[in-house]
Symmetry: C2
Subunit: 299 residues, 2 copies
């Protein structure tokens, strides 16, 4: 399917993609570009790459039939592409795996040499456990893989990436980058920020009216509800910092919606209006049921 695939950033996503590319023979050679020496050893150990380097200048010259997949925190991608540009020749294809798209669709194309095409991508797989040590074959099975082509996108390049998504058992989905960002702000980025605030608020601290609650007691009584409500907050901070900053407007709009919904519930609790509170909690169940198939299943 591809000759050489360079994966820039061999973590959970990049590493899992490398495993599938090699396992399924989707590329002749998979080359990792990483920041730390230890990642080279880990990436080779789990079979995520055929070779890996810290040095963009050590990369093969990439052209027709070659693919670059950017899988680093989103704000690091423009400087990364500047360093990669010398290795890119006409015909090479560039995509990414970041959770925000409009920012990259604006920022990256101007940094590429003539004849090198960029199509934004977002394979919606993963977990809160980052790093190549958590990479695994089949991570993308059943996941949506958003692609954000534009007027300049060549049908051939788009078809190649859709074929790649299908080859790893994901479902390709063409979306406008702004629409993608607005939707994931609400169902992914907002939940992450809220989960982080929840973990912070629940945790021990000197501040707050009940900041003196004993940690051992909080820990003993924290059950599955707390665990699952805050699970995503265990995700890597650099990745999520960049997501929040690169999708700021959509995220702030989602935060407005959340704060309005929370204020409504808080008002019902403060005034002791059980009837309103019931309606609010029922509305929440119905909203979730519209978004989640099999709402009862635990995850």
């Amino acid at each position: 399917m591809f000759d050489r695939v360079v994966i820039a950033g061999v973590g959970l996503i990049g590493g899992s993609l490398g495993m599938d590319l090699r396992e399924r023979r989707l590329a002749r050679r998979v080359v990792g570009l990483v920041r730390r020496e230890v990642t080279i050893r880990e990436a080779l150990a789990v079979g995520a790459v055929d070779e890996a380097t810290l040095d963009p200048e050590a990369l093969p010259r990439l052209s027709e039939g070659d693919l670059v997949v950017l899988a680093t925190p989103v704000l690091t991608m423009p400087p990364l592409v500047r360093r990669l540009a010398p290795a890119l020749a006409s015909g090479a294809l560039v995509t990414d795996a970041a959770s925000t798209k409009a920012y990259l669709v604006r920022a990256l194309p101007p940094l590429l040499p003539p004849g090198v095409e960029f199509i934004g991508g977002h394979p919606m797989a993963g977990s809160e456990r980052g790093g190549v040590r958590h990479a695994r074959r089949g991570l993308f099975h059943g996941a949506r893989w958003v692609l954000t082509p534009d007027a300049q996108t060549s049908p051939e390049a788009l078809a190649q990436l859709e074929a790649l998504a299908r080859a790893v058992e994901a479902e390709p989905l063409r979306l406008d980058p702004e629409l993608h960002d607005a939707v994931v702000a609400r169902i992914s980025h907002l939940p992450h920020v809220v989960a982080a605030a929840l973990a912070t608020a629940a945790g021990p601290s000197a501040a707050g009216p009940d900041g003196d609650l004993p940690l051992d007691l909080l820990r003993r009584l924290a059950a599955s509800g707390f665990r699952s409500t805050t699970r995503v907050a265990d995700g890597p901070a650099p990745v999520w910092r960049d997501i929040c900053l690169s999708n700021r407007e959509a995220l702030l709009a989602s935060l407005d919606r959340f704060e309005a919904a929370l204020a409504w519930l808080r008002e019902a609790i403060t005034t002791g209006d059980g009837e309103a509170l019931s309606r609010g909690l029922e509305a929440a169940r119905e909203a979730r049921a519209q978004l989640v198939s099999d709402p009862g299943r635990q995850l």
Copy 2:
């Protein structure tokens, strides 16, 4: 262990307790008191009770060796106990399974006949799926079972309830009711209200700056992060309405902590302060790691 056990409210908790009581021969007879005819059939079908009735006056007269377990929404318990009182004679023991304790420790004892003892209880097991149809044997395995004895509590009655908790493989834990309520407000009640607001905000609506996002797209892109962050919001509204209202002060104090943490993160996002945002997200991970053993495990 007990002669007769009356379970008032045969849902997930009451039904699962009834199953364990009968399966493990911890009571000579388990009698369900329920509100709806259909629950009698369901409770008998899953083996949660030996018999069940809609009518408190049909209950046997309870005294020494008998136990009443209240397992209905917390605000329904005082009126329920008024209706049960005629069936209670000196020596009978009353406990409950509600998620808030201070309110009940104040409200219930004055409603009981002389010689009838109440000890608050909170078996911290369950899931968002309410109803006796989700009841199961072993639900309490490994769970904390909080008991809130006071100065009037007899050691014998407390020992009986601790033995009951251990007999269903739960871990009894004696706590001051106010302390219990403050802790669960932070690690259970706050997460529930926040998850409800999150589901409401993420869901489709005409309101809001991006209220026009297509539902099918929100649904297609909502992944495991959204599912787990909002899972508890699928819990029964009447149960959670009563929890919020009966633990209002502690819940509002926890909401203050949450809103402060969220405002801090929002400020970093608004100003684009990546360094502060990283610190905030890292602090959230550390707070969660202090409360959750094996933070990586999904639930």
